[in-house]
Structure formats: C-alpha cells, structure tokens
C-alpha cells in the first residue's frame, strides 16, 4: 500500500538545530541526512522555512512529529493532521515518524511524550490513529518506541509484541530508539538485549541514539531520564552494536535537543555512529 520503510540512506543523521545551519551547509562531515521536528516548521514563513528549503536541496530530510498525540484517547486533531499534510506535501521528506505516546488531552497540549498502557483497547485505538495518519499523508509512517519511567498495572501486552501487532495491523514501520530501550529497560528492570532480540526488526526504518541523565527512584534504584542533553552513553553504544547485528546498516540519528553543543561535538557523535555502521557493513 505504501513505500517500504523509508528512503533515508543507511548513514548517520543528526537532529537539526538552527544554530548549526552555516556549518552544516559548509561541511556536514559524516552526516548524510537531517531530522526536523515537524511542529517547528509549521509557521507561515521566515527563517525556519527558508533554512528548511535550503537544507532539503542538499540533504534527505526526516520529518519527526512530536505533537500528534497518536496514543490520545480522543480523536486526532484534524487541524494538526492538515498541517502535517501541508508540510509533508511541499517538503516531500524521505521519512515521516511519530511516537507511541500521547500529549494532548481536553484540547490541552502538554509538550511531553506521555506513556500508554499496553491493552487491547489501546492497541485498537493506536492502530486506528496510525491508519488515519497514513491515509491522510498518503505514505507509510514510522512509529517510535517510548522511553518509560513507569509501567501500567493494566498492561497485558509486552511493548515489543504491542509494536509488532501494530505493524501487522497498519503496515507502519518502526523507529527503534536504542537509548529509549536502554532507559526503559533500566527503569523497569529488564534486559535491554532481550528487548532488541524480541523487537520486530524487519520493520525498522530508522534508529535513534541520544543522551540520558541519571537519577534515582524512591527506593534508590536507578532512574534514567531521556534528556537528549549530552553524549550517547557507552552502554547505549554497546546496545547499538547488538542492534546493528540484527538490523544491518540503517539510518542512524543522533538526537541532542537540550544544552545543544557546538557543531564539532555533534559531528563527533555522528562520526562515532558512522564507525558503528561501517563495522556492520563490512
């Protein structure tokens, strides 16, 4: 029904930050594609749109939505879907992705990716919403696994089975965030390698890496926060190696959204991603 997975190249990409525009245009180093947050490019014009047009002439672009609330209990916001359709329409990006999460309730947008119970009812609702998105956009979308800080007593599905069932029902692809896997596994007390081994790997159209912060819960157990504010942690790089063994080379994104560093620091992370990809391609 839709194009397979995504047309992003199996190279390192970075989350685009406007302060890096000039350096990226001059020499992007190992970076072969860029990801933008859809909602930041929904204004009428000005610098954001002009920069995006210029970047899109040089790089494949991945549009990553953070505001659709695909897991919301109520129907998807038709205005927001229309804005996405407009953006995807003029930009023709290589990929569109969103999150297994919710962020809007009662018309209030909470600006965070909030968690879902994995039940039959949630599955049906999320599948319906993915169908609607793919219908409106006329393309296959990728759905990203969340980072979890807690679990729902009512859940009856494992996250990996839940995602596999969504792929089966909707034909969507998946965005596998390896840092999210590490964060969730640490926070909820399971083995991250086991999660990767159970993941519906054929559906993976893109991989994310990002940095996390360390905290503790009420019992002194580690509580990792998916902050995207620093370098990717070493155990996450190790988990990436394990993941790439299963997936082979895939589009591999470095996310750095808070305390954004100077371009050379981000480019170094992309270089490390490039080496990981080269090892698995060899």
């Amino acid at each position: 029904m839709f194009d397979h997975n995504s047309s992003l190249p199996p190279l390192p990409g970075v989350g685009y930050k406007p302060q890096h525009f000039a350096q990226i245009m001059e020499d992007a180093g190992p970076v072969g594609w860029l990801e933008i947050h859809a909602e930041n490019y929904m204004g009428d014009g000005g610098r954001p749109i002009a920069q995006l047009r210029a970047l899109a002439e040089r790089f494949p672009i991945s549009v990553h939505g953070v505001g659709l609330s695909i897991g919301g209990e109520t129907r998807l916001d038709p205005d927001h879907l229309a804005r996405l359709k407009h953006l995807v329409g003029w930009l023709s990006p290589a990929s569109f992705s969103e999150h297994l999460a919710w962020s809007t309730h009662d018309a209030h947008f909470l600006n965070d990716l909030l968690p879902l119970p994995y039940t039959d009812a949630t599955l049906q609702r999320v599948a319906d919403h993915i169908d609607e998105v793919q219908e409106v956009l006329g393309r296959r979308m990728l759905l990203e696994n969340p980072s979890s800080y807690l679990a729902f007593a009512e859940s009856t599905w494992s996250e990996t089975d839940f995602l596999a069932e969504l792929v089966k029902r909707t034909g969507c692809g998946l965005l596998l965030d390896v840092n999210n896997v590490f964060v969730s596994a640490t926070n909820l007390g399971y083995a991250p390698q086991g999660y990767i081994d159970a993941f519906p790997i054929d559906a993976v159209g893109e991989i994310h890496l990002g940095g996390h912060d360390e905290d503790e819960d009420d019992h002194g157990l580690p509580l990792l926060i998916d902050s995207h504010g620093r370098e990717v942690a070493d155990p996450v790089w190790a988990l990436l190696e394990h993941t790439l063994q299963r997936t082979g080379p895939r589009p591999l994104l470095i996310e750095w959204d808070t305390d954004v560093p100077e371009w050379p620091v981000l480019a170094d992370e992309a270089r490390r991603a490039d080496k990981a990809l080269a090892r698995v391609a060899a």
Partner: protein, 250 residues
C-alpha cells in the same frame, strides 16, 4: 484503569496524588517516577515561555519569572502543539498578576515580545519597487493603496515601550523618558526589529492596513504626522509589498 484525564490532572497539580495503577515495573507504586513527567511538562513549558519572553524575564529576574511562568502554565497550558504560538495569553495574565502590579508596563513588554515572535514566523512577501512611489503624481499617490508585509506589526502603547524594551535588551541604551511610544516591527530579511514610530505613524499604518488609500491614511494620522520619517522607515524595512493605483472615474 488509569485514564488520561486523571494522568493529565495530576501532571499539572503537584498537590494531587499520583494516579492509581502506575507502578515501577515490579508492582510497587510509581511514586516519584510519575514526577519525571510532572517535571518534564513544567520545565518544557517554562523554558518555552522564557525563550518567548526574554525581556520580561530580564525585567523581573529569572527566579520571579520561573514562579510567574509556573502559575501561568498551570492555568493556561498550550492549546496547540505549535509551541511557537504558546503564551498568547501571557500579557493579559501578567496585567492581572497582583504581585507584579508595581511594574505596570510588564504586560506591554510581553505584548511587544509576542508581536516580535509573530513577525518572526510570518509569511515572506516580495517587496514592492519603491520607484513606483516616485513615479506617481500627487493625485495618483493620494489614491494609491499599499499592502504591508505580513511580518509588519504595530504595537501602540501608553508607556515608553520602545525605550523600555531597548533599555532592557541593549547594553548602554538610554534610560526611558516618561512619554507614550508606538512601536513598529519590521523584518527586512529574517530578524524582526522593533522601531520607534514617529508621531501619527501608527494611525497612518493602521489606516493603510485597513484598506484606506494613501491620502485618507495621511488624514487619519493627524496634524503632527511625520510622513517623510514614517515612509522612509517603511521602505528601509521592506514593509511595503504592493502599491496599487486604482484610478476611479470622477
């Protein structure tokens, strides 16, 4: 079952207990794990407000700003996933915030910062050739209609708003004098700049935006109007995107 309504209500109200049915993965109550979401929501919205209202933050200090923003975000969470629009109600909120009542111009500064943000994201439009103006005889000029760029914003104020903003944001800028000031925001390329409008300028531009021909707009601007200064400001800022001459039969 943990409904999203219950999850959302407790997110914005730390006095509420953590919703039932949330665990740590081993079946124990989620406890402060839930607070991660509370913190994410509050911090991200507060930072969005600080990014959107830097002059307000400077005027009252980071600590006060964090407090005021915290109260605002709980009473008025975003109504759209477009964070570029968040805070539209902030000026009105500040105007009614009693603890800051002694800084009466604070809401005015917030209004100006909102207008700067609207201008930043406004649609692009090619600038009209200014030579057209010189080519018109007086009668044609008085009858001409002008279209202003979508990025142009006018903020009229009973305070010395432009001086207060400039004094706050630009080191070494002169202290504001007690007077009223109207501000025009012009975006020559991508960066919106606030400019002080000459006398009558705001009335002139408002009339033009409402579709009045040039002559009528000049009349609306009053006796003290400085046409030359206002026009050169508009031309320098690339504010005029179309000049149309509609000759009507007498």
């Amino acid at each position: 079952m943990t409904s999203q309504a219950a999850f959302r209500t407790a997110l914005l109200d730390a006095a509420q207990p953590v919703p039932p049915g949330l665990t740590d993965g081993k079946g124990r109550p989620a406890g402060r794990r839930y607070a991660v979401y509370r913190n994410n929501v509050a911090v991200s919205l507060r930072e969005a407000l600080a990014t959107g209202f830097p002059a307000v933050e400077k005027l009252i200090g980071a600590e006060n700003f964090a407090h005021v923003a915290g109260v605002f975000l709980r009473s008025a969470p975003p109504v759209s996933p477009l964070m570029m629009h968040y805070g539209a109600g902030f000026p009105e909120f500040l105007a009614g915030f009693k603890a800051l009542g002694h800084i009466q111009y604070l809401a005015e500064v917030a209004r100006l910062e909102l207008a700067l943000r609207r201008s930043y994201h406004a649609a692009d439009a090619p600038v009209a050739d200014p030579a057209i103006l010189q080519s018109l005889d007086e009668e044609a000029l008085m009858a001409a209609h002008m279209t202003l760029a979508p990025a142009v914003e006018v903020v009229r104020s009973p305070w010395p708003l432009w001086s207060i903003y400039t004094f706050t944001m630009t080191p070494g800028a002169p202290k504001p004098e007690a007077r009223t000031e109207d501000v025009i925001i012009l975006r020559a390329e991508f960066d919106p700049e606030p400019h002080l409008l000459p006398a009558g300028g705001a009335a002139f531009i408002t009339a033009l935006s409402n579709g009045a021909p040039f002559g009528e707009a000049v009349d609306a601007a009053g006796d003290a109007f400085d046409l030359g200064a206002t026009l050169s400001l508009l031309l320098q800022g690339g504010a005029i995107t179309d000049i149309s001459i509609q000759r009507t039969d007498p």
